[in-house]
Each structure stands twice: as C-alpha cells, then as structure tokens.
Symmetry: C2
Subunit: 102 residues, 2 copies
C-alpha cells in the first residue's frame, strides 16, 4: 500500500530531488521538473523509457511535450499527495536522462 | 515550403477535421483535440506511433498526457498559423486512433 510521505521522511526523500532540479508545485502536493533534450527524438525516446517504467510500477506522470522539452508533474492521486512512488519515478526519470548523456 | 492555409482552402481542409472532433484553439491559429484511450499503454502507444510520423514529417505536436488522456494542439510555427502539415498530422492521428479500435 502506497502511503503519503510523512513530515519526517519528506525532507530526506525530496531534498536529493530538489538538488537535481525538481520543485514543489504551487497549490498542490506535487513535484515538477522541466527536462530539455537535444531534439524531439531524444525527448520522445526519454519519454518512452519513462513510460515503460511508469506502467511497470503502475504510477503515471502528468507530462507535456513540445519538441525537445518535456514538463513532468508527479503526485499520487490515491493518497492525494506525494508518496515514495513519486520519488522513485522522479529518480528513475533523472537516471534515464543522465544515461542518455553518458 | 510550407504555407499558411489560405482563406479559400481553410474550410475545405479543416471541415473534415472539425467533424472528427478537432476544434479551433482560442486566441491562436491552431487546432486541438482530446484523445481518450482504454488505458496508459494504449494512450502512450498511440503517442509513439504519432511521434514517429511527426518526426518523419518534421512537424511536431504540442501535447500532454495524463494516464489514458492525450490533449494535442497543432500549429505551424514557421508560418505562425495553420498549414497543410497540421491537417496532414491531424488526419494521421485520427487514423492511428481508428486503427487501434479496429
């Protein structure tokens, strides 16, 4: 069962994500980040990898794409706020983006 | 060279798209449509097919996805408005969605 991040664990889990560019979303218990790629193929390729993980974990992003830019918002509707699943998917998204630059 | 849709061709080209659910976007010379699928796999699968055509034609959508819903906006930045490329991609998107239901 997914649980909402407690006040105690919140900073520990979210701080490393804030360091990579994730931000709290105004007016929602959610995090968001803008990913920029070299072109559409890289942007959509990244989305495709992220989509497979999202489906595997049954935890899906809100995201939009315009050419080489992807804006992602993560939250957990079942708990009406951030859960460890959001942090897990955020870390995976960062990891995929990093792997594409290596 | 892509050209902006002329007043004469505009109705001929756009009318069939309005009939399938495309709408003019307020405040922009653009069209938009919301596609609903059975689940995330179908929604992202549809996006993936559309993405390959978009890249092939070097004409990319503005789109967002939340689980099984995809909102698409099409316009041609090079001509600051709608061109035949938008109509072509819109028809392709409709066609892919239709093929998935067959």
């Amino acid at each position: 069962m997914t649980e909402k991040l407690s006040e105690e664990t919140r900073q520990t889990v979210l701080k490393p994500l804030f360091d990579t560019g994730w931000q709290m979303t105004e007016g929602r218990d959610a995090i968001h980040k803008t990913f920029e790629f070299a072109n559409f193929v890289e942007a959509f390729g990244w989305m495709t990898q992220a989509a497979i993980w999202a489906e595997k974990w049954d935890h899906h992003p809100e995201w939009d794409n315009v050419y080489k830019t992807v804006n992602v918002t993560l939250t957990t509707h079942d708990v009406d706020g951030l859960s460890t699943l959001d942090a897990k998917l955020a870390r995976k998204m960062d990891g995929i983006a990093k792997s594409m630059k290596d």
